[in-house]
Assembly symmetry: C2
């Protein structure tokens, strides 16, 4: 590969001058500038990014840790991040963790090795205590609320959204409300459990099914819910694909939505739109956009994004 000193030789100048041309310095005689430009053209030269990164100590590349690469909710976050990254001339590297602690750490290590200028954590397996030390090596931004932590975040008030959605169901007369969640240990799951207890008191046995992600999971969950002695009259799903699965199962059993069964989904995803599923939109795209803004500002701010409830025909 041709490098900067090849250019210098061919153009009859020093590497410093070539570098000046490359970086648009003023104070380069125009004849030399043109000579350099001509040689660059002739030899089809492009500066080596590694060398530049090494000396500059930055990459304009942000890593995004996300548990699954085929989950609509995380795609929404990612989309927001990508949009802002494009606007700001940054690149985004996706770091799928599958919630493996070691993998997550391996990715954070890459911040330390200067491979990324910053990292956005959309969801995590490790404790914050484990993660925080890595923020010495670059900004780490969370998409989950991080009170009392030296970590910036872009989040929505899930607890409040859950309370509001559950209140909505309650106000429509529902007393037997079941719900699905993703991982038991996730922040979001913790929040909805608290919100549920706040609104309806104890969770009846069988009214909470965790580890739901796909339409199929929703279908299976609905089957279980509707076999219960005390059949729920409403279900809060942790995503519109899961909600869609519940909807499809209900239809297959001639159960009328919303009359016999109300369903409310989450995140306003394509899978729900066609079905007319009501949904709690946590504005994941906006959360992603803000997360990106924070990471390049190396900010430790905590930015709250408003959620909104989209009513369609399933409640």
């Amino acid at each position: 590969m041709t490098n900067i000193s090849d250019i210098a030789k061919h153009a009859g100048v020093s590497v410093s001058t070539v570098s000046r041309v490359l970086n648009n310095y003023k104070y380069v005689a125009s004849d030399k500038r043109e000579a350099v430009l001509r040689v660059i053209e002739e030899l089809n030269y492009t500066p080596n990014k590694h060398a530049i990164d090494l000396i500059r100590g930055e990459t304009r590349n942000i890593g995004v840790i996300l548990p699954y690469n085929n989950n609509t909710a995380f795609d929404q976050l990612l989309n927001g991040i990508l949009t802002k990254a494009s606007e700001n001339d940054y690149l985004i590297t996706v770091l799928p963790s599958q919630y493996h602690k070691e993998r997550e750490i391996a990715y954070l290590q890459k911040l330390k090795s200067r491979q990324f200028d910053g990292i956005i954590i959309t969801s995590r397996a490790n404790d914050w205590e484990t993660i925080i030390p890595y923020s010495d090596f670059g900004p780490i931004i969370s998409c989950e609320y991080t009170p009392h932590l030296e970590i910036g975040c872009s989040y929505t008030d899930r607890y409040a959204s859950f309370v509001e959605a559950l209140q909505l169901l309650k106000s429509r007369g529902h007393r037997a409300v079941a719900f699905t969640t993703a991982r038991l240990t996730s922040n979001s799951t913790q929040q909805i459990i608290l919100a549920y207890q706040e609104v309806f008191g104890e969770i009846p046995s069988g009214y909470h099914i965790s580890d739901c992600q796909s339409l199929e999971d929703g279908y299976a969950a609905a089957k279980l819910f509707l076999q219960l002695q005390e059949r729920p009259t409403a279900i809060y799903a942790n995503g519109d694909e899961v909600g869609g699965g519940i909807y499809v199962y209900a239809k297959s059993q001639q159960i009328k939505v919303p009359d016999d069964l109300a369903i409310i989904g989450q995140e306003n995803q394509p899978a729900g739109i066609g079905l007319g599923l009501s949904t709690v939109d946590h504005q994941l795209t906006k959360i992603g956009e803000q997360a990106f803004n924070l990471v390049i500002k190396k900010s430790k701010e905590k930015v709250k994004i408003p959620y909104c409830i989209v009513e369609r025909n399933s409640v």
Copy 2:
């Protein structure tokens, strides 16, 4: 930041020895190895990735050019790529182009600047003649068939799939078949036009609507199709979200699917599953996986992935 020579000094050895320890060379006295390891631990040292990349000339990072970062089809491709990348200890950087020619070129330029070890093009705006010269600087793999080109690809036979799907509609008695596509200039659009002509002859005016991506686009397209004098009895949609939109519009007009209107979608996406939409699955995930395999093999092979038609209740 502490670097390799700091480690060397503190451990009382040369940088070569530290490097040997770092890279697990044999032939390092065990006392020195331990001393080095101890100092690394103490000073919390991590090698600088830029320096390593510079000297090694590779990054284990693959760039993936995709037009939209919020399009389910491209997400499916990306998922396949990410899965294989994780398995092989590679990182994936997503490069959204919005089909801007200059952006696409800017990304290819990054291959030349050694920022990526290879690039996967899921879809493109530029001509191949413009793209091919960049393959001098690293492997470029296409997710579209590239006959006669020095570019490896992982693809499915879209022409055949379109013919088969249209034949299926024909065999069910449909003679008035409309269809939606994405960009007019895309390879896929070219193929379906040819396939349509093969199966049904000339395309009746108004029977082809392009630039469809979302459920909303499908909804709007359906409205137009169903206002035509010669109303189509079947619609082939270029994706299940578009198909879902068509479905929803049909329902809203009390048009029965599939009796009054058959709908067939594409790519077997979540949006279609709940609706029971029949679909042509081009196995985008598998195409992505193969594309990754090819890129790290620096292969120019052309790998064909079989498609399959998934019949549900909309045809």
